[in-house]
């Protein structure tokens, strides 16, 4: 007997709304269908009405976790259009925050993976240690989530000598804790038994479905923009691209923990070789007309911004390709032939950031299933009619 199970738009395993329709037989998934568009915010349209500086803050709010990634991608592109180069110290600080963000995002994911696998102790411990990263970020930028440290032409805040040593000390603590988690995550029998072999994605599939980030790297595809197309300071920093060949959720876990360890190396290099000098240069008011594609390795994978300038102080077009969008096709492939029990794990393993990836919305009639294009004013009128019609139903009595 085949049954359709709806996971979402509202479900405890999902932190943001997305529709997953699973056709299952017993506990085995036969088919999976993904429906997007529950959380569309129209960021790209809004960006066309704002100046470049204002857009830095807007792009920062595309994502609540990799906020720095989006604003850095935008700033990198904009700086080329403005024909300025940020000073060395500014770049070091910018990518220091990038790596800190990668650590905080991966530790967050690790905790979530523990929770999805029903390993709540792991979740609690990882998130306790994640607080150290959050404290460092707060110390550098004054904020825990939206750091707002980027500006066009560099960064907005400098760090002093005391902060530098403090960060190095805290990184040593973090490194010890992370090694412990690497050991725990790969040896605890029930946890490994739960993750190994789940959500298999072969190397060929990962390449043909254009998987990005840790999802691709866990399938042994060494795809990392920091190495393939180095931006900023990454051509002078020594680091390795971490891969795994198990092609499953366990591999994605191991890749992420190893990447965190690599990030500590990068940060230590950046802090020990921090050059003196200013942190930013002044940017002109308007860029030259032109267009640019900016690439950046966010914690979840490759982040792409396309910016088109027409010579005014506002971009003519901003296109954002968030890494989650690149991983959706691979997710469907991973879900097939899995168990119901694996859905949250597989889906969480791409570290989905759903509202970052929402680029369009489609209106589908729930009865006929026909898509349609409707103007905003018409949508409002429809909502009003519906409210008037169903107003009686809504007046339910409070039970107590």
């Amino acid at each position: 007997m085949k049954v359709q199970i709806p996971i979402g738009p509202q479900h405890p395993a999902l932190k943001e709304p997305i529709g997953l329709r699973m056709t299952v037989e017993g506990e085995v998934i036969h088919d999976a269908d993904l429906r997007l568009g529950y959380n569309h915010r129209g960021v790209e349209k809004v960006a066309e009405g704002r100046s470049y500086i204002q857009n830095l803050y807007l792009t920062e709010r595309i994502c609540g976790i990799c906020s720095h990634s989006h604003s850095t991608t935008f700033a990198q592109g904009a700086e080329i259009l403005f024909e300025i180069v940020p000073p060395k110290r500014g770049q070091f600080l910018r990518y220091l925050v990038s790596e800190l963000e990668r650590v905080h995002s991966h530790l967050l994911w690790l905790g979530v993976a523990g929770h999805e696998a029903g390993f709540d102790s792991f979740f609690m411990y990882v998130w306790r240690d994640r607080e150290i990263v959050m404290d460092i970020l707060e110390m550098i930028s004054g904020n825990r989530v939206h750091y707002a440290i980027n500006t066009i032409g560099g960064v907005r805040r400098d760090i002093d000598e005391a902060q530098r040593t403090k960060i190095l000390d805290l990184l040593a603590v973090l490194r010890a804790r992370t090694s412990f988690y690497l050991n725990l995550g790969t040896t605890e029998p029930s946890f490994v038994g739960r993750l190994a072999g789940v959500g298999y994605l072969s190397k060929e599939d990962a390449m043909s479905l254009c998987a990005v980030g840790p999802t691709a790297r866990a399938s042994n595809v060494p795809r990392d923009v920091r190495k393939d197309d180095p931006y900023g300071i990454y051509d002078e920093v020594p680091f390795e691209v971490c891969t795994a060949d198990t092609c499953d959720v366990l591999g994605r876990t191991v890749v992420r923990i190893k990447e965190v360890l690599q990030s500590y190396d990068i940060m230590e290099y950046l802090l020990r070789n921090l050059p003196a000098g200013p942190v930013a240069v002044k940017a002109p008011r308007r860029p030259k007309p032109g267009e640019i594609v900016s690439r950046y390795e966010a914690p979840r994978g490759e982040n792409i911004h396309y910016i088109k300038s027409n010579g005014t102080d506002k971009p003519e077009r901003l296109k954002v390709r968030a890494p989650t969008l690149g991983n959706y096709a691979a997710t469907i492939a991973m879900l097939k032939k899995g168990f119901i029990a694996d859905i949250p794990l597989i889906f969480a393993a791409i570290d989905p950031c759903i509202c970052c990836a929402e680029r369009s919305v489609e209106l589908v009639d729930s009865r006929s299933g026909r898509p349609s294009v409707v103007r905003w004013s018409e949508l409002r009128r429809m909502a009003g009619r519906r409210a008037a019609r169903d107003s009686k139903k809504r007046n339910v009595e409070w039970p107590l």
């Binding site: 199970i5 709806p6 506990e27 029903g118 709540d120 306790r128 946890f191 739960r194 029990a341």
Partner: protein, 323 residues
Amino acid sequence: MAALKPLLYVFVYPGLLFLFAYGTFCEWFDRKVYARLQNRMGPTHTGRWGLLQPVADFVKLMAKEDVVPEKADKGLFTALPVVGLAVVATAMLLVPVWHVSPTASGFNSFSGDIIVLLYLLSLPTLIFFLAGWSSTNLFSTVGGTRVLTMLFGYEVPLFLAVLSPALLAGSWRLAEIAAFYQARPLLLLVNLPAFAISLVCVQAKLERTPFDIPHAETEIVGGTFTEFSGKKLAFFRLMTDIELVVSSGLLATVFLGGFPGGVGWGFVQFILKTLFIIFLLSLMRAATSRIRVDQVVSFAWRFLAPAAVGQLLLVILLKGFMP
């Protein structure tokens, strides 16, 4: 006075009043231990050290709106929590605390009461399955089938493991088994593997991590209990608490030598021994991650059942050599 005694057993000790108080205390103890192992505080605010938190949860749930799904079988849906609570509370009457003398049998202590107790502890599983099935919700149905699938895994090893000490003692009466081991405490060591096996099985029976598969929140929302709310959910939660007390009472009787020493010392022993077992269960809950339902069955038949059979063999051999 003689007529009053059964009433005392049923309503005060070890009956409903004690079960409610001790069951909620055990939930608090379990939550606190689990929280401290996870570097959290656990309940702190309601009552001293948060002791009254489970009671507060119960009272709050009792006052909440009680919704029955339109398509559900209303009679079954309403009856199940009450029946479940009655079953586990009845099971407690068979645990030999102060009201059972090791020599005389009675309505709550007879030859074969260990089987009846195990049977009464199996009924909640069936009740959970029916609860999931009768709610007609997809998630509940999946949870219900998972309950039954798990049952096929852990039930046989549990029976084998609990019955092997009884075989060694040569009695099917809990009070006699306890008395046998009180006289020869060293023989308890023989049953240690069975103790470990039955701890794992009880963990599965109580649906706690790593076996909390039927109500795995991230997969199937509330699982069996998705559609239950208000008083019914409160009853189910109380039922789980009492099941925890009864199962740990059974394990303490069979594997830790029971609760001798009359009303006072016997009571202290009951509390200490059950809390020890609950502590072990909490430890297991904190140290593991949830496994998949097919892994439960294969784990039970690949490791637990052969180990339980091995224990049975050991007991039979030992019995042959014993005077």
